[in-house]
């Protein structure tokens, strides 16, 4: 992944070249390959979820004689059984992937955008701007994560947009710190100094010389933010602070837990748990491989 490789990218894609080379680097790592594959599968399932789910996730299932099918074990009609309220577990599970990925991706992109903005401005301009932004970050870093989410969602009301907003408010802070420190080293590079000496504007230097070189760190932070966002949404839903109108994995576990079906209905509890573990771990695998590949002291010698 030398400079020459970067510049061989087609003209329109030049800006994306670091992303593509990062992607190629990740595919070389076996764990990251599996992480990316699983993540892609989740996205696919979420996109075609309404066509996979056999029933409405909140529709009560009735027998032919008109009785509610409560806590039925897995069968041919209900692949993963039914809940205590007679809902089809498989349909809830499939539709739940939409909430997880929607919250994860939207919040992560918002987090990536804000942390890049704060990190680049703070690191590039330095001085009093840096001081003000970093003191703000210090304050944000002293806010306890989950308690803030609980209080804020409790006060704002449990809707999916509020959850996304709260997650964004929480996770920009760490990203801003990390991106700022990368910008601090990039700023001192020779080509930045040349560009400055040649009279390039700040905007030009940031867009042309700083941003392409920090894109990988941004990409890593966005990946990790997806994991944090999915985890936070699931935790809030488990605590009963999720959006009640949409089915999510955390909410499934909340209802299973609250109805006391933990002991009997494994088909209701195990699937959402496994989905959460698989999705979050796959993202961590991608993030870990990235760190390993970019830190020369950790890289495996071949």
């Amino acid at each position: 992944m030398s400079q020459s490789e970067m510049y061989r990218a087609p003209r329109g894609l030049r800006f994306l070249a670091p992303m593509l080379s990062t992607f190629r680097l990740l595919l070389r790592d076996r764990f990251a390959f599996w992480g990316l594959t699983i993540f892609a599968l989740f996205i696919l399932v979420a996109m075609i979820a309404p066509w996979i789910a056999p029933y409405d996730p909140f529709a009560p299932m009735m027998t032919e004689s008109g009785r509610l099918i409560r806590l039925a074990p897995p069968s041919a009609e209900h692949w993963l059984g039914t809940t205590a309220f007679g809902n089809d577990v498989f349909s809830q599970l499939v539709m739940g992937s939409r909430v997880a990925l929607r919250v994860g991706l939207v919040a992560a992109i918002a987090v990536g955008f804000i942390s890049t903005l704060v990190g680049v401005i703070s690191g590039y301009f330095g001085g009093i701007i840096d001081d003000i932004l970093m003191r703000m970050t210090d304050v944000a870093l002293s806010i306890p994560t989950l308690p803030f989410a609980i209080v804020a969602v409790g006060l704002l009301g449990p809707s999916i947009d509020n959850i996304i907003l709260v997650i964004t408010l929480l996770f920009w802070r760490n990203g801003a710190r990390i991106i700022r420190s990368v910008v601090l080293t990039e700023r001192e590079r020779v080509f930045v100094k040349w560009a400055r000496a040649a009279g390039a504007s700040h905007l030009h230097i940031i867009l042309r010389h700083i941003l392409p070189n920090i894109l990988r760190v941004v990409f890593l932070w966005v990946t990790m933010s997806v994991a944090f966002a999915v985890l936070t949404e699931a935790s809030l839903s488990f605590l009963g602070l999720g959006d009640p109108s949409i089915t999510s994995w955390g909410q499934m576990l909340n209802t299973a837990f609250a109805s006391g079906a933990l002991r009997t209905a494994w088909w209701w509890v195990a699937p959402p748990s496994l989905m959460l573990i698989t999705l979050i771990s796959s993202l961590y695998l991608i993030g870990r491989a990235y760190e390993e590949q970019t830190n020369p002291r950790l890289r495996e010698r071949t």
Binding site: D138, I150, G154, L155, S235, L239
Partner: protein, 321 residues
């Protein structure tokens, strides 16, 4: 050095002040009138005013803010809407309960995790131990703590019926320390404690492993090996130097644990401060929610301060400016 400490102290105080202010306005801007909770008794307007005054909700927002901050300085968090007694008296026992699972959980998690991390870090690169160690650690790290809790509960409490999965036992008249020093309490403590330990193992493992892997290529390791000591002692040399970041990581981690084990406390109905925060939010008991939130923020600020000061003491390369 003294100037550095003083500067960090002032900074921390400023952070606490700003966080408290944000918290105050966050709670007050939202439309909520606690007196509506007690209205069923047919309250007269006068009685309502008395209650509002009792809770410090009279006057303009600015007056309320000044009064609230003034009271905070004297350690007065206001009265709980729900329990009808000072919020601090409500919270105090819950904090102790939380510490019972947070402190041993974090310490045991750190010891077990970094021990395993040393093994994985010292194992041959690309070998079976390394690959499976990393994969397992990442999967456990990806498991939300309430999922781990539910699994423990389902297996050891519901299915095997070895340990209770609810609350922390009935002390039956025991007071003071004796409330905690009995077999029943320990029995109730096991599962939530395990959940917290499992939560901490992977993070410590991966941190320690990176440290050991980085240290393996250092010259001093070659030197130690050249002395002819056993391979185990060489590994210890590499591990010991990787502990510095771990030690300073412990303080903020403890603060985050106390704030983060909310879900573990909920799963096991452990009467801790996190569970009380959730209950307070649901009950709209804002003085208690505010006090719990304030305590957690203070802990994080103090933990970060302690970490910075310890780090500067332990690592002579840190420059104070």
């Amino acid at each position: 050095m003294r100037a550095y400490i003083l500067r960090r102290l002032l900074q921390s105080m400023l952070v606490v002040f700003v966080v408290t202010t944000i918290m105050f306005f966050m709670f007050r801007v939202m439309p909520a009138d606690p007196t509506t909770m007690f209205l069923e008794g047919g309250m007269t307007e006068e009685a309502r005013q008395v209650l509002l005054e009792e809770w410090g909700l009279n006057g303009t927002l600015w007056e309320q803010y000044v009064r609230y901050m003034g009271n905070l300085l004297t350690g007065d968090f206001g009265n709980s809407f729900f329990y009808r007694k000072p919020a601090w008296d409500v919270l105090w026992p819950f904090i102790i309960n939380t510490l019972w699972i947070a402190v041993p959980g974090l310490l045991l998690g750190a010891v077990i995790g970094s021990g395993l991390g040393m093994i994985v870090g010292w194992a041959p690169r690309g070998g079976k131990v390394e690959r499976s160690g990393i994969l397992l650690a990442t999967i456990i790290r990806g498991a939300p703590s309430f999922v781990v809790g539910i699994m423990l509960l389902a297996i050891f409490s519901s299915w095997l019926n070895w340990v209770p999965g609810y609350g922390m036992g009935d002390p039956q008249g025991a007071t003071g320390l004796m409330r905690y020093l009995n077999w029943d309490f320990a029995h109730h403590l096991i599962l939530p404690l395990c959940a917290v330990i499992i939560f901490f193992i992977p993070e410590n493992l991966l941190l320690m492993r990176s440290g050991v892997v980085e240290a393996r290529t250092e010259d001093y390791i070659e030197l130690v090996r050249a002395k002819g000591v056993s391979e185990g002692r060489v590994a210890w040399h590499a591990g010991r130097n990787s502990m510095l970041p771990l030690i300073t990581w412990l303080f903020p981690a403890l603060a985050e644990t106390i704030a983060g084990i909310v879900v573990v406390e909920i799963v096991f109905s452990w009467p801790g401060v996190g569970r009380e925060l959730v209950l307070a939010v649901v009950r709209q008991d804002y003085p208690v929610a505010q006090a719990a939130f304030f305590l957690m923020s203070i802990m994080i600020v103090l933990a970060n301060l302690a970490a910075d000061l310890t780090y500067s003491k332990l690592d002579p390369r840190v420059v104070y400016k």
